[in-house]
């Protein structure tokens, strides 16, 4: 084989990679797929910005323009929508893979960065949902912002900070728009870069030492195939399933079944049981905090790294799965309602 100069893409990887852990059947490519979806969201999002108008009068109309009039606008919007929905899933699955295969061991800082990215993914998806400004999102925004108000002490100050006024209106939409396209997106970019930088700094994908290492060429090859398949799946889904768009938001209209976006259905279910602040704000934040400190409390050993269902991490794995099961059951309950 003739020697070729590695291009920029190769340089994103270390020259050699642990052979066993580089296999698709170990990582399922979930981190890479999430990154690809994130990039697709950035590109399609910037294109949408050229048409989208972040005002109560203009939002819905400009989305209709994107969806029904502009050439391939429907595909653009569908890809942005589906990439956003899928990313919630792939990020959570990536997290589950890291938990169950002990991937957090010997690199716990990167676990924290990852939890932060999960949080940002939720915020990005929710703020994007609000921008649709149709009847569904109007109620989600109403409930979400009133939850902020329920925080003891600083609630109303926090509400003004989020909404930009005493009630939801043009100022709120502009704020969610700015957070979505710039504030949160920029933060996410910083954390994504840091996350990936840490992976490389920590010696590539977590692995058993001493590892048989292979050149990055094979790995890049696999990555490109996974990337193409993901893109194919994303576009395929977008060709056949349309992103929803209800009637324009009207805060005075009675709605039969106001539902939270699917990734927050579990919080809506919690709210049926508990007091507003505890069920709607404290519990979700506590769950996130518990997940964040899992590798610092329940499994502080580095033994069992890169081993699926390793024994030292057993307790942590069980706690994680119990939390995941609880959230899933509540989500299903909300879906079937």
């Amino acid at each position: 084989m003739t020697h070729r100069r590695p291009n920029f893409y190769y340089h994103l990887h270390p020259p050699t990679i642990p052979a066993r852990e580089a296999r698709f059947s170990y990582t399922f490519g979930l981190g890479g797929i999430s990154l690809l979806l994130f990039l697709a969201l950035g590109i399609t999002g910037v294109i949408e910005m050229f048409v989208y108008v972040p005002t109560p009068e203009g939002a819905h109309q400009s989305i209709r323009q994107i969806t029904y009039l502009a050439p391939f606008g429907w595909l653009l919007r569908n890809v942005h929508f589906w990439a956003g929905q899928l990313m919630v899933g792939t990020v959570i699955l990536h997290m589950a893979r890291v938990v169950l295969s002990g991937g957090y061991k010997a690199r716990r800082l990167n676990w924290l960065i990852g939890v932060m990215l999960l949080f940002l993914t939720f915020l990005l998806d929710f703020s994007g949902y609000v921008l649709r400004w149709d009847q569904d999102t109007a109620w989600a925004l109403m409930v979400g912002t009133n939850l902020v108000k329920s925080v003891p002490g600083v609630g109303s100050a926090l509400y003004r900070f989020v909404v930009g006024g005493e009630a939801i209106g043009a100022a709120a939409l502009l704020r969610f728009y700015t957070w979505h396209i710039l504030g949160l997106a920029l933060l996410a970019v910083v954390f994504v870069v840091w996350h990936i930088f840490r992976v490389r700094r920590d010696g590539g994908i977590s692995h058993i030492e001493p590892a048989l290492r292979v050149g990055r060429e094979q790995f890049v090859h696999t990555e490109l195939i996974a990337m193409l398949l993901t893109l194919g799946g994303l576009v395929g889904l977008s060709l056949f399933a349309d992103a929803p768009l209800g009637p324009p938001a009207d805060p005075t209209a009675l709605v039969a079944m106001p539902k939270a976006p699917w990734f927050f259905l579990w919080i809506q279910e919690l709210l049926r049981f508990g007091s507003t602040f505890v069920a709607g704000v404290l519990t979700p934040l506590l769950i996130l905090l518990v997940v964040a400190i899992l590798p610092y409390t329940l499994d502080r050993s580095d033994a069992g790294i890169a081993l699926w269902f390793n024994r030292p991490g057993r307790f942590l794995q069980i706690v994680f799965l119990v939390i995941a099961l609880g959230v899933t059951v509540l989500t299903l309950r909300g879906t079937l309602r």
Binding site: W139, R160, L271, R272, T276
Partner: protein, 152 residues
């Protein structure tokens, strides 16, 4: 020199301290900037039409006011449709009560709380007749006692 501060160390501390203070002050001002509220011009007083569109024993949802306007034996009244829990609009339930579709809070026909997660009853709103215009008005910012009625 153990435990003592030399000039270099002192100046470094002063520089770091003032930079930190400046950064914190800037962040604080950004928070203040984003919490600023422009003077509010939106009115809370909403016209809800002439009295004769509300016949005796009726209860009608008036979207502009986000309230139910009713007419019973004693007179006219207005019940806020905004759920005191998290702000969804309550619907009519069986037996004349109200149900919030978001989180299942239940209220009876007088707006009293029957079942949670809400912790407050529905508000009754000030309703009056403007004789010059012959129109009823509701003030969303002025709750009243549930027993209050506007005599027909």
């Amino acid at each position: 020199m153990q435990g003592k501060i030399n000039r270099r160390r002192f100046l470094t501390l002063v520089a770091q301290g003032s930079l930190t203070a400046a950064a914190l002050a800037a962040v604080g001002q950004v928070v203040r900037f984003l919490s600023f509220q422009p003077p509010n011009s939106t009115t809370t007083i909403v016209p809800v039409g002439q009295p004769d569109i509300y016949p005796r024993d009726s209860l009608v949802y008036v979207a502009e006011a986000r309230a139910y306007v009713g007419h019973d034996m004693e007179g006219f009244y207005a019940v806020d449709a905004v759920c005191p829990h998290l702000g969804c609009l309550v619907e009519r339930g069986e037996k004349g009560g109200f149900i919030c579709p978001c989180h299942d809070s239940r209220f009876d026909a007088e707006g009293r709380l029957l079942a949670g997660p809400a912790t407050q009853p529905l508000r009754y709103l000030h309703l009056w007749l403007d004789r010059e215009q012959g129109q009823l008005f509701v003030d969303r910012a002025e709750p009243v006692e549930p027993a209050m009625r506007l005599l027909p």
